[in-house]
């Protein structure tokens, strides 16, 4: 069984991002970038399936700028066997990524594709679902548990009302939720080994995909700052403020 894992290079979760002065987006010049945490969970899950003997190969894929190679090296340090980068400096939207992944799935023929449920930069939560639709294959999103049995994948999903378990025929698309696992530490010996693992670089054109953005960003703004609270002297003061200032009673 072969597993394909998609990883995205995003602004590190510790970084407080800042909207550019002209409102054209978020300033990412010189900020620390790292692997999307949900994708780290996806890599960890794939590697665990391999360690349990359920999978034979784990292939990590990333789409984006040349520096995504670092993200792929991290995936390989966690335990992925090889990496594929679809390199482009164009802005990639979820549909474009899903189309690129579709082509790679057709080429690599994995039994399971695991993706993070969403990326922490744009919070789209679309790529996995779009990929399943493009492939015409079943999907198990927001997985908190993934089991492989008898050529099928059992995915326990975190839904509003509780946990839902679905059984999917392979090939299938799985997206990870936060509680699926806790990714391991990337150790120095494994980083050194990962440097020697194969990493293939492709261009979107080689996969025959037009990645031009379909959506236009109209504006980006910072959330309005919360106003400082005030202390009221007594109940009468509180009622007065609720009535006349907040106008809620």
């Amino acid at each position: 069984m072969k597993i394909l894992v998609a990883v995205k290079r995003v602004v590190d979760y510790n970084v407080k991002v800042r909207v550019k002065a002209d409102g054209a987006g978020v300033d990412i010049a010189n900020v620390k970038m790292s692997m999307n945490p949900f994708d780290e969970i996806a890599v960890e899950e794939a590697v665990r399936l391999k360690e349990k003997g359920m999978a034979t190969e784990v292939v990590a894929v990333s789409c984006g700028v040349a520096q995504c190679q670092e993200t792929l090296r991290t995936a390989m340090a966690i335990g992925a066997d090889r990496g594929i980068l679809v390199e482009t400096s164009e802005e990639l939207q979820p549909l474009a990524v899903a189309k690129l992944l579709q082509r790679l799935v057709e080429r690599e023929k994995p039994d399971i594709v695991i993706l993070g449920k969403q990326a922490i930069d744009d919070d789209c939560n679309q790529t996995g679902q779009m990929l399943a639709a493009l492939l015409g294959r079943p999907q198990g999103t927001f997985a908190s548990k993934v089991e492989v049995e008898g050529g099928r994948v059992r995915v326990t999903r975190e839904v509003d009302g509780g946990l839902e378990t679905v059984s999917l025929a392979t090939p299938a698309v799985v997206t990870t939720d936060l509680r699926l696992n806790e990714p391991r530490y990337v150790t120095l010996p494994n980083i050194m080994k990962a440097k020697k693992k194969p990493l293939e670089v492709l261009k979107p054109a080689e996969l025959g995909v037009d990645v031009a953005p379909r959506l236009e960003t109209v504006s980006v703004r910072e959330p309005s700052t919360r106003k400082a609270g005030v202390k009221v002297a007594d109940v009468a003061g509180l009622v007065e403020k609720l009535k006349n200032e907040a106008k809620v009673i």
């Binding site: 590190d12 510790n14 970084v15 407080k16 800042r18 002065a21 010189n30 900020v31 620390k32 790292s34 806790e182 391991r184 530490y185 990337v186 150790t187 120095l188 010996p189 980083i191 050194m192 400082a228």
Partner: protein
């Protein structure tokens, strides 16, 4: 479990052999690695960095003298080094509470002249240096702290071990536990920056400071702002003396206009201050309210915050920089020109000198001995001349602002005019900074203004914009030799000075169940400035490296 028990249970540790192991990917460590690869491309060089990426823990003013960079990469401009903003003007101001007097250009001592220098974000320069190093084949591993010096049977340094990962708060291994790794080198170069945690151990083990003045220190608290385009004066360099420091404490402000409407500013306080009520963080906040400073910032927005201890680095305090199997470079040794308020050129130069000695040693097949060629080359270098020339600067100011101004005028203005480069006298000091604190009972509490949230801020909102993070489930990396001392000595005698000198709110005295107070250590706030390790009156606080990758994530500080 201690490291030895962990190794017995989970070990042995994996190891890897290199020609040279460098600890710290800052200007000094990277210059060492780069220069060595330039001279000896076949050398295997590895650099460990505790920050999540090169530059993440770098904090400096910074006005950079490009002299050393010109030597390291004569074509740095073509290579795209981020030295983008030449200095366009020097203002030296003396502040009173409401007024400011600009020292006329002809009276400004030459150590304050910045013509030909660049206003830089040193973090960006470091990131660029790391790219250059990697292109030369240097292996850089960010996110891994060197936690331990390894010695061979003859007591020579044979390398370092990285810290263990996945140790819980209780000191026991968690499910994610991973043992550290040993990196062995024919030589190990320590470039941890001021008050390096391993450097401190090496200074003690090999008695490297013997016969030298004790090192003196300062803390710099810094912010990065974006200002309105009409307020930007790219290349303007402002230094202030006077207010809010009174005559008893040594300190001054800096404010530099970078490119792209950015202003970097900060305040530096000498760590030999006596009044335990002094708070460097709040002095910096208060300093910003001075009209001569706030005028630059009005309508702007603070982007980032950070702090770092600095060594004052007069050559009188410079330790022996070599020992069997290794060397100290950059601020880990104490190369810094406090009079010129610059150290990055000294860091790069010292790394280059060390690398030249390394290349010679490796070339003749040596290993694990003393790189005596490095200090010898330093003594003959322009860096030694430069440091000698300003060696008394800080020490005159320690005798009071008037004496400082007078003697700096004589040494840096009058003597050069009559052809004497280096003053014919040398000052010394004998007391380390932590011994200067006076009991709180003998001192006047200082009342600082409340932050307004626009120009001035509190500690926690400041740490927030330093992007500081540590894995929560790990032992505190601020360790106490004796857990009772913070209350019985620090609080009882000195009114808990660590709660004031810490610029990140790590140390907090809170009420305990018994009606008294206890020290709470919020280690996850730590911005790795090392001030506590320096200023703690009984040297009871020992800073050790936390899990790799923890600490601030500065973007161009």
């Amino acid at each position: 479990m201690n490291t030895q028990e962990l190794i017995t249970t989970y070990g042995p540790r994996e190891s890897m052999a290199y020609d040279v192991v460098v600890v710290g990917a800052g200007p000094a460590g990277l210059a060492t690695a780069i220069r060595l690869k330039q001279l000896r491309p076949e050398a295997a060089v590895v650099v460990l960095e505790k920050g999540s990426e090169p530059g993440a823990h770098t904090l400096s003013g910074a006005v950079m003298d490009p002299r050393a960079m010109n030597e390291l990469f004569p074509d740095w401009k073509e290579r795209g080094a981020p030295l983008n903003q030449p200095v366009t003007g020097d203002d030296v101001l003396t502040l009173t509470e409401t007024g400011a007097r600009r020292i006329p250009d002809w009276l400004v001592p030459r150590n304050f002249h910045n013509h030909g220098n660049y206003v830089v974000a040193l973090g960006h320069v470091v990131k660029w240096l790391a790219e250059q190093a990697e292109a030369l084949g240097v292996e850089i591993f960010p996110g891994f702290s060197a936690a331990e010096v390894l010695y061979d049977e003859q007591g020579r340094v044979k390398g370092v071990a990285t810290g263990n990962q996945g140790i819980g708060k209780d000191g026991e291994p968690t499910a994610a536990f991973q043992l550290g790794m040993e990196l062995h080198g024919k030589y190990t170069v320590f470039a941890e920056g001021a008050r390096g945690h391993l450097g401190k151990q090496l200074l003690a083990k090999y008695a490297l400071s013997e016969g030298k003045d004790p090192q003196s220190w300062a803390i710099g608290v810094k912010e990065l702002w974006e200002v309105a385009p009409e307020k930007a004066k790219p290349g303007l360099v402002v230094h202030t003396a006077g207010w809010p420091m009174d005559r008893s404490a040594f300190g001054g402000g800096f404010l530099y206009h970078l490119e792209g409407n950015k202003v970097t500013l900060g305040f530096v306080v000498g760590l030999d201050y006596a009044n335990p009520y002094l708070s460097p963080f709040e002095e910096m906040q208060r300093w910003k309210t001075h009209p001569a400073v706030s005028a630059h910032l009005e309508g702007g927005k603070r982007l980032s915050y950070g702090a770092r201890a600095i060594n004052n680095g007069s050559p009188q305090a410079l330790p022996k920089t070599v020992f069997p199997g290794g060397a100290l470079v950059g601020c880990d040794a104490g190369y810094m020109n406090a009079a010129r308020i610059k150290g990055s050129h000294a860091a790069i130069k010292s790394g280059m000198l060390c690398a030249e000695a390394l290349a010679g040693a490796l070339g003749s097949g040596r290993a694990h001995d003393e790189l005596t060629a490095y200090p010898e080359a330093f003594d003959k270098s322009w860096l030694a001349d430069e440091l000698q020339q300003t060696r008394n600067f800080k020490l005159w100011f320690k005798k009071g602002a008037l004496m400082g101004q007078l003697m700096t005028g004589i040494e840096q203005w009058l003597l050069p005019k009559i052809g004497i480069k280096s003053p014919p006298w040398t000052l010394h000091r004998s007391k380390p900074d932590h011994e200067y604190l006076k009991p709180a009972a003998d001192c006047q509490p200082i009342v600082y203004p409340k932050p307004d949230g626009r120009l001035t801020f509190d500690r926690l909102s400041s740490v927030f914009v330093s992007n500081t993070n540590h894995e929560e489930n790990q032992p505190a990396h601020l360790t106490l030799k004796d857990a009772s001392v913070p209350v019985t000595v620090n609080l009882a005698t000195y009114a808990g000075p660590e709660s004031r000198y810490c610029p990140a709110g790590v140390y907090e005295f809170v009420d305990d169940a018994g009606g008294g107070q206890r020290l709470q250590i919020n280690a996850q706030n730590c911005v790795h400035c090392k001030t506590c390790d320096i200023k703690d009156p009984t040297q009871n606080i020992v800073w050790v490296t936390p899990e790799g990758g923890g600490g601030p994530n500065y973007a161009g500080m």
